[in-house]
């Protein structure tokens, strides 16, 4: 097996060190790394040396919110194409959302998705199980069977739909405690958002598009943190998007409620002003909010109120976006742009004290902890799994939708110049990306 000697990488943006990756783990660090590589070479082991003297090393990124679309919508994305895009974006683990067709609401479907991920070999796939049968919000799915399956599901979500029935939500929060699971809530009061197309406010009033009011998210977030407190469960809030939600989560945490929250890259950088051209590439759920909301979610991410960044990578084929705004599908891809957008919004932004260690915390360590993924989000230390990413912080690149590795082209960042570029990704000690290019398992063998 090929081993890797990474030279002089800045670990989490701090001190530079060599790293030697062998047998799926970080075998040696610092001065020991070169020695270990020399020894290995003498034993006939293949050692690939990488000059990382301008690069930053982070633990492999972990996405808690990815739509891989398989089974059912292989025209938009497959487990293989989605995880390859993930690897190019620096991810070594993704959580595949349950709103597939058939829905991932049984042990059979989650095991299939997990197996497809293992076979593809680009990144660890952790299936998310549906909370309710068919995402219909009526009856609990067999959560225990999914937890006990080979997929070992720990995150449950009806994402795309809100578990709006308060009794059902309470039961789900209670039930998953038996196997240390968490319910990830798509917070959207359905009656307040019937036919909603964009954030309700000044811009929607002008454009004549039915509004999605912030209160429809905030009412559910408030209810669910109180429910979690009442039953002593943890709860996770998906794609938190409003200033009011940030306030509620901040209050809940101060009160000691076990709540975690995620924000998407696009909610960190885009506003509802982008919808003015009626371009469906900016149609997403929850919708793009106001500049004040963007400032609030940034501040929330910086102060820890929002725990993680999650992509909500939502690929759609062209025909679902090349149409009237009202007819278009909601969602945007994000795996390959996430890190760069976070760098643009937070790391390179002098308003916030947000460094590369914070990137590692919010995009690797904490999402792995929430998802209970033991082998991900680990510190870069000897003996730890060799899941890591090398990033060039000074590079810039221009987003070309056709050149992205995801099977769909619905990025809102077409033609935008973004900072920071993933140069290499290692998963279980194998390079899934080298020189910015994905390398399939078969390539490496050859």
């Amino acid at each position: 097996m090929t081993t890797y000697l990474i030279r002089a990488a800045s670990v989490l943006g701090g001190e530079r060190s060599d790293l030697y990756l062998a047998d799926g783990v970080i075998a040696a660090l610092g001065a020991d790394a070169a020695d270990a590589a020399t020894t290995a070479r003498a034993d006939g082991v293949d050692v690939v040396e990488i000059d990382a003297s301008t690069l930053i090393a982070l633990p492999g990124l972990v996405d808690l919110h990815t739509h891989l679309r398989e089974p059912g919508r292989e025209d938009a994305e497959t487990v293989a194409s989605g995880t390859r895009a993930a690897a190019v974006g620096g991810f070594t683990c993704v959580h595949a959302m349950a709103n597939t067709d058939p829905v991932a609401d049984t042990a059979g479907v989650v095991e299939q998705v997990w197996r497809l991920g293992e076979d593809a070999g680009w990144a660890q796939v952790r299936p998310v199980g549906a909370v309710t049968v068919g995402l219909r919000g009526e009856q609990l799915a067999e959560l225990g069977a999914m937890a006990d399956s080979a997929a070992a599901v720990r995150v449950f979500s009806d994402d795309g739909k809100c578990v709006d029935d308060p009794v059902l939500m309470r039961r789900a929060l209670e039930y998953v405690k038996a196997f240390d699971g968490v319910v990830a809530q798509h917070a959207q009061e359905p009656r307040l958002t019937q036919g909603a197309l964009m954030h309700e406010g000044v811009v929607s009033a002008e454009l004549g598009l039915t509004g999605w009011p912030a209160v429809a998210e905030e009412a559910i977030v408030a209810r669910d943190v109180l429910l979690a407190e009442h039953v002593g469960s943890r709860v996770h809030i998906c794609h938190l998007s409003t200033a009011g939600s940030v306030d509620i989560v901040r209050w809940a945490k101060a009160r000691g409620i076990d709540v975690t929250a995620e924000v998407t890259p696009h909610h960190l950088i885009l506003t509802d002003e982008a919808v003015r051209g009626y371009d469906p590439q900016f149609k997403v759920n929850p919708p793009l909010r106001t500049a004040a909301d963007v400032a609030a979610v940034r501040a929330g991410l910086a102060d820890g109120t929002i725990d993680i960044v999650a992509t909500d990578h939502a690929p759609h084929p062209d025909e679902d976006k090349d149409c009237e705004f009202a007819a278009a599908a909601m969602g945007m891809t994000g795996l390959e742009t996430a890190l760069s957008v976070v760098v643009a919004a937070m790391v390179d932004n002098p308003e916030y004290d947000f460094d590369w260690a914070d990137v590692a915390r919010t995009m690797s360590t904490t999402p792995a902890a929430i998802g209970r993924v033991a082998e991900q989000g680990r510190p870069l230390e000897v003996g730890e799994p060799a899941n890591l990413v090398l990033v060039d912080p000074d590079a810039t690149w221009t987003v070309d939708p056709a050149a992205l590795r995801t099977a769909s082209e619905n990025t809102p960042f077409a033609s935008d110049e973004l900072p920071a570029r993933v140069i290499a990704t290692f998963w279980r000690g194998r390079a899934t990306v080298l020189d910015g290019e994905p390398r399939a398992r078969t390539d490496v063998r050859a």
Binding site: V202, A205, G208, L209, T210, E324, A326, A327
Partner: protein, 328 residues
């Protein structure tokens, strides 16, 4: 002006040019032979994704009186309801050689998509999109108001060259769902009028406070305080009463009592105030028969002016404003 998508896109000068051209067109319509040769050989497509007999006929009459060929494409059931997509319809029309597309669509922004997506290269005229805009309605309303409020003197009966500076206009009804209200607020503001919207709070959009107009919930107080020069009653769809959350107002009778233009309110209006309605009317709901049929009602005149305005818009888009003089 390449397209007419939104009343908000029009500058004061452009708006006045359209109104003045409308006056020229209107003058030709009292002649025995109403037809002008201006657009001979050109094809105008009326692409209607939503039922609207009046607007379609108005555009059709306008195009025909300019000697254009007219194709009516009634595409009820767009991609929203899983028919042919807007894109494929547009590509088909472009391939058939349309010179201008007039589009009515239930999705806000559909005309904007048609004009900016590269699907067609011809001028696009928005004949009403969802809850967004209906610019030719606003233009015909402005033309009607100008005639009544700014006509006379050296500007002639049509108020040529004039705007609506200082005119007080009250618009009453379902502003939330109304493209007519949005277009009128934009255009009337551009032309210098003072607009007050009156509606129950449930029928005003969140964000209306940023619009260039005043807002009131009380029709009686507004009539007394504003002393309007024109009052425009918007159509209220009866189904608004039975939608989610128990509807936007409790009953048609309550709506009518609080926001309808009945005989008492009609009598309270200043004598010169004109009564307008974009049609079709719900007599007895937002407007009483007494008001609709009163001498101060401009409702039928609005329809006639609609043809002239649409002639002017098609003429300016297809024949170019610079030729205006020569064609007279």
């Amino acid at each position: 002006m390449r397209h007419l998508l939104s009343a908000a896109d029009l500058s004061r000068a452009e708006a006045i040019e359209i109104l003045d051209t409308t006056a020229t067109m209107a003058a030709t319509q009292s002649r025995e032979i109403k037809k002008l040769p201006a657009l001979r050989g050109l094809t105008v497509v009326n692409l209607f994704f939503e039922d609207s007999t009046r607007t379609r006929i108005s555009f059709e009459a306008a195009a025909k009186r300019l000697s254009a060929d007219v194709i009516n494409f009634s595409a009820k059931g767009s991609s929203v309801s899983k028919g042919e997509s807007l894109k494929d319809t547009a590509l088909t029309l472009a391939a058939m050689g349309a010179d201008a597309v007039v589009i009515r669509h239930q999705a806000s922004g559909a005309p904007h998509r048609l004009a900016t997506s590269g699907w067609v290269r011809t001028p696009v005229v928005n004949a009403g999109d969802g809850m967004h805009q209906h610019p030719t309605q606003a233009l015909l309303d402005a033309f009607t108001m100008r005639r009544h409020l700014a006509g006379g003197g050296e500007a002639g009966p049509d108020g040529i060259g004039r705007d609506l500076a200082g005119a007080k206009v009250v618009i009453v009804g379902d502003v939330l769902h109304s493209r007519v209200a949005r277009s009128n607020v934009d255009l009337l503001h551009t032309l210098g009028a003072d607009v007050t919207l009156v509606a129950p709070p449930t029928l005003l959009p969140v964000g209306v406070h940023t619009w260039p107009c005043a807002v009131s919930y009380d029709l009686n107080a507004t009539i007394a305080d504003v002393r309007p020069d024109a009052i425009m009653m918007l159509r209220v769809q009866r189904e608004r009463m039975s939608s989610a959350g128990g509807g936007f107002f409790p009953s048609p009778m309550e709506y009518s009592r609080r926001y309808g233009l009945d005989g008492t309110r009609l009598a309270a209006l200043p004598e010169h105030c004109v009564v307008m309605h974009p049609g079709p009317m719900n007599r007895g709901l937002e407007i009483s028969a007494k008001a609709a049929d009163s001498p101060r009602s401009t409702i039928v005149e609005q329809v006639a002016n609609g043809v002239a305005v649409r002639m002017a818009v098609l003429y300016l888009l297809l024949a170019g404003g610079t030729e205006t003089e020569g064609s007279r």
